[in-house]
């Protein structure tokens, strides 16, 4: 058993690609070995900006000898068939075996030296590594056939045991030599085997294990901050990125001018992080402090003083820009910024952002004035909506698009607008993802919901629906976010009413134009789409799809109140889990079956209950039916189901005690009538026919 070391050295690999490259390297290596009949076993994969390394432990010296058996033509087949088989196998006829009239070739393949397999494997890896972007370079690139790599490939170390695995790819020949740190140890170093690789590199200022570098950065940055009485704002993404940019990471703490702290902390953090890859730190008060941690790639001769001074200067220039934007943006009121939205196209079919803002403002105002969003001042909702998108044309958001909303909130507050308005501007994009908080402040809810509904209504009106994996306008997300806003705030919103309002109140006496008629399709496409999303959401919380189906009708048409559909479905799911629920469902199914088989019922039923069991069911229905329908009208579904539950015993007794298909037509008709009343009462609460089982 022998260890194998492979190092593919190149010019600097982008930090963001290194994790993917490690995974692909492992995959390719395992696949190639396995194709050759070798088990790759225990692999260690490392990366630095300048190298990908792989160590395979305990490979055999050679692949196992294998015996391959090929079935040929029947011995009675024409001679051409046999000739063809001999050509294919490279054997002569006397080497074949005749087994029950069929020729068989048994080919013994001797084991192949693992070293040969590795030579081929390396060439295969270099040719097939799926880099997100790759390039050609150097003299070789004069030919179309030249190799590609993420950046120029500069060296290959391939050692099996202590022997070189010979190979030459892209003009690079494998050898024992690699290079250490670019500045600390620029000369060649010779590697003996897999076992001394990491330590030899370490002696030359290269920590090849990316996880070790990550730990140095994580701990070193925290310590640098702590030593100055500060606490690091942890950021694992930055840890990984900096580890991908360094072979010898040295975290260094620097300070910036305290005056910059007047800029919002999110801006400072983003500037430091995105542009410079610095960590930021908090002071003892838990607020952002005027410090940063950069990660150098050298042990500087002066301990890093020059590096810190240089980085501090760059950060200061960046923060000056940010502060300039911050001050510049505030020279105009948000309302003035908003005027520029008329120059930005939202979508060619849906007008400018200013058009969208006006639609959202109208809808938000309506949500407030109708009391759909309770305790919401319509004027504030309108004001917030009108200003919500204004920050899109500010310098700061132009520079950092991810600060949209947040900056608007800051500017609104600085302008002295009411907190409710500033908060709504800040949070109106929420909830952004599944884990994001759902706003609850009334003005925010009104604007956030109106914004998302406007997007849905607009694209649906133009027939731009999400299909399959294609959802370029993120309409599914808009749908789910709308749902979450509605459900978590318990908004009694009819999507029908909202869509009608959005389409504009047309004169009820006037005839609709063809366009208006076409636009009205959103009255069905929107509830369908949202109910689908609701079903998906509910399924995740254990409410089955059929239960949602059973709960989606209201007054004989699709219920456009999603909150009601949700409550009813949840209550129904809970009810069906009880013994009463299960039995009632069984009784319902039996009744529905009998009714189905009975077909059209002819003739009048008897005037009075034929037996006590009939009378008991009638009495129970007389009590339960009005109770259930009253509860449903008030949307107290649990109560409605409790009322239905009172029918369980009488219906069971009815089925036990009487024969529905009585020979007496009048009795039969009476009983079918009772059952129809029973199923009708159940339907009044939920459509049990949709429930499976």
């Amino acid at each position: 058993m022998t260890d194998f070391l492979l190092e593919l050295r190149s010019e600097e690999i982008p930090a963001r690609m290194q994790a993917g490259a490690r995974a692909e390297l492992e995959k390719l290596f395992r696949a190639q070995l396995s194709a050759a009949g070798l088990e790759a076993g225990d692999l260690t994969i490392w990366s630095t900006p300048r190298r990908l390394a792989l160590i395979a432990k305990g490979l055999p010296e050679a692949t196992a000898a294998v015996s391959e058996e090929l079935k040929g033509p029947r011995s009675s087949a024409p001679p051409q068939a046999l000739e063809g088989f001999l050509r294919k196998t490279g054997l002569t006829q006397d080497q074949l075996e005749d087994r029950d009239g069929v020729w068989f070739a048994v080919i013994d393949k001797p084991g192949r030296p693992t070293s040969h397999v590795l030579t081929d494997t390396i060439a295969h890896i270099v040719r097939h590594m799926p880099w997100p972007k790759s390039m050609r370079w150097g003299k070789e690139s004069a030919s179309s056939e030249s190799a590609r790599w993420v950046r120029p490939l500069s060296g290959i170390v391939a050692i099996f045991g202590e022997e070189l695995v010979p190979c030459k790819i892209a003009g690079v020949e494998a050898g024992f030599a690699t290079r250490g740190h670019r500045f600390h140890c620029p000369g060649e170093i010779t590697i003996g085997s897999a076992s001394d690789y990491a330590e030899k590199l370490r002696a030359c200022h290269v920590i090849v294990d990316h996880e070790e570098r990550q730990a140095i950065i994580r701990d070193g940055a925290a310590k640098a901050a702590a030593d100055a009485g500060l606490s690091l704002v942890e950021d694992e993404g930055l840890v990984i990125e900096n580890a991908g940019l360094t072979e010898w990471p040295v975290p260094l703490l620097g300070r910036f001018d305290e005056a910059f702290l007047e800029v919002p902390p999110e801006v400072i953090q983003l500037t430091a992080r995105v542009n410079q890859k610095y960590f930021v730190v908090n002071g003892a008060d838990g607020k952002l402090a005027n410090g940063f941690v950069c990660t150098a790639n050298i042990d500087a001769r002066d301990g890093g003083a020059e590096i810190v001074a240089g980085n501090r200067k760059v950060l200061a220039a960046r923060l000056s820009d940010a502060r300039f934007f911050w001050e510049q943006d505030q020279k105009k009121a948000l309302a003035q910024h908003a005027e520029k939205l008329a120059n930005i196209t939202f979508h060619e079919k849906l007008g400018t952002v200013a058009d969208k803002v006006e639609r959202v403002a109208k809808l938000a105002e309506w949500l407030a004035s109708e009391g759909i969003v309770p305790n919401c001042d319509p004027a504030l909702a309108r004001q917030a909506a009108e200003l919500a998108k204004a920050d899109l044309v500010t310098e700061m958001v132009g520079e950092f698009p991810e600060l949209q909303g947040l900056m608007g909130g800051y500017y609104a507050r600085a302008e002295g607008l009411p907190d409710a308005v500033a908060d709504a501007i800040r949070d109106h994009y929420k909830p952004v993802g599944q884990g994001d908080d759902v706003p609850t402040a009334p003005v925010t809810v009104a604007v956030a919901l109106a914004d998302k509904l406007d997007t849905l209504f607009g694209f649906f009106r133009e027939d731009m629906f999400p299909t399959g994996s294609k959802d370029p306008f993120a309409l599914r997300r808009a749908g789910i976010s709308s749902l979450r806003l509605i459900l978590q705030n318990g908004l009694k919103l009819s999507t029908d009413a909202a869509a009608t309002q959005w389409l504009g109140q047309s004169d009820p006496t006037a005839r609709l134009s063809e366009k208006e008629i076409a636009d009205r399709k959103i009255l069905t496409t929107i509830p369908d789409f949202l109910t689908e999303r609701l079903a998906v959401q509910l399924r995740e919380t254990g409410v089955s799809a059929d239960v949602v189906q059973a709960s989606r009708e209201w007054n004989s048409r699709d219920d456009t109140r999603l909150d009601r559909t949700e409550t009813r479905a949840r209550d129904l799911q809970a009810f069906l889990a009880t013994e009463d629920g299960t039995n009632l469902l069984a009784g319902y199914k039996r009744a529905a079956n009998i009714l189905k088989q009975a077909g059209e019922v002819s003739g009048n039923g008897a005037a009075t209950p034929p037996t006590d069991a009939d009378a008991a069911l009638l009495a129970a229905l007389d009590t339960a039916e009005p109770a259930a329908s009253a509860a449903v009208a008030e949307e107290r579904f649990t109560d409605a189901m409790a009322a239905l539950a009172s029918l369980r015993a009488p219906i069971d007794a009815f089925f036990d005690g009487v024969m529905v298909n009585d020979p007496d037509e009048a009795v039969r008709a009476y009983r079918l009538g009772l059952l129809a009343r029973f199923t009708g009462a159940v339907h009044g609460v939920a459509d049990f026919s949709k429930i499976e089982g």
């Binding site: 690139s141 120029p152 500087a300 240089g310 980085n311």
Partner: protein
């Protein structure tokens, strides 16, 4: 204590002279700036056209670069509408290009064991030239000082072989080396005898004021639009007449006029893409005409070379 004269950082012009000497000693022909208004050193035909085809090409030059929208009336310490790029093209890209480049930093006084030099991913793309390449922005203590690119395509054509391009931001580098915070405070030249030193501001501050004003406020947009159309037409005439170098001049002209129109704020977002596509067509057309005019010679001299 080191001798002050010895440690005094290079003046702006000495930095350029040092780079000239450095790259000259490595076989580069030292060219002069192209005599047209361009947005970057890449527009010089010594880069654009010469990066195409199989002929080895090693040159270095300074290129004054104009970015009208970056003008700040001389009031911003970092931003200029006119600045210098130092451009090096090595074709085919040598195996030790990074080492050669780092040597040039050392030559102008940057010690890599005192300063943190880093190669940070930055893929380069010029939509108006139909060009792209992979490489890095080179950081010195967190500041971008050079764009380092391996050209993959130019004018929509594969670079065969690939050229390495180094673009130094001279003002930034000088500010770093001289440790000044305002570009106008840079020492352009040193005092010699009775002749006083000249600062960057002495040379360029008034230019920045006047050109910022002209770019943003004064330039006659009708003239610029007409000029764009004329350059476009002339470029196509030159392509048809098989004089691609002359055609390319007109592509450069159109590109700069487009930049000026943008600074005047008369090109809407929707129109912008359209104008860029028109410039790209001119640049691509010129590159194609250049290839067409040269390919016979290329295949003769470099058998096996194909487009």
């Amino acid at each position: 204590m080191a001798d002050a004269a010895e440690t005094k950082p290079l003046s702006f012009q000495d930095m350029i002279l040092t780079l000239h000497n450095y790259w000259s000693a490595r076989g580069c022909a030292i060219l002069q700036p192209y005599d047209m208004r361009v947005g970057a050193g890449t527009f010089h035909p010594a880069t654009t056209l010469r990066s195409l085809g199989p002929v080895p090409w090693n040159v270095a030059y300074v290129q004054p670069s104009r970015r009208p929208t970056d003008g700040r009336y001389g009031e911003n310490p970092n931003r200029l509408q006119h600045y210098y790029q130092y451009q090096v093209i090595l074709k085919p890209s040598p195996a030790d290009l990074q080492e050669q480049y780092l040597g040039s930093l050392a030559a102008i006084g940057i010690d890599p064991l005192l300063h943190d030099i880093r190669f940070v991913e930055d893929d380069w793309e010029s939509p108006t030239l139909g060009a792209w390449g992979l490489g890095w922005e080179v950081w010195c203590d967190g500041m971008e000082v050079t764009q380092f690119t391996y050209f993959q395509q130019m004018g929509g054509f594969d670079c065969k072989p690939v050229a390495g391009e180094l673009t130094y931001g001279l003002e930034r580098l000088a500010m770093y080396i001289q440790n000044v915070d305002n570009v106008y405070d840079l020492r352009f030249s040193d005092a010699v005898g009775d002749v006083a030193a000249v600062s960057y501001g002495d040379v360029f501050l008034e230019n920045e004021r006047q050109f910022s004003k002209w770019n943003f406020e004064v330039a006659d947009t009708d003239t610029l639009f007409a000029g764009f159309k004329a350059a476009e037409a002339e470029c196509q005439r030159a392509i048809a007449a098989n004089v691609p170098l002359a055609a390319y001049d007109q592509a450069i002209e159109a590109s700069h006029l487009f930049n000026l129109l943008q600074a005047r704020g008369v090109i809407s977002v929707q129109e912008r893409a359209n104008y860029m596509a028109r410039v790209r067509d001119l640049a691509k057309g010129s590159c194609k005409a250049w290839i067409d005019s040269q390919s016979e010679r290329w295949t003769e001299k470099y058998p096996g070379w194909t487009l």
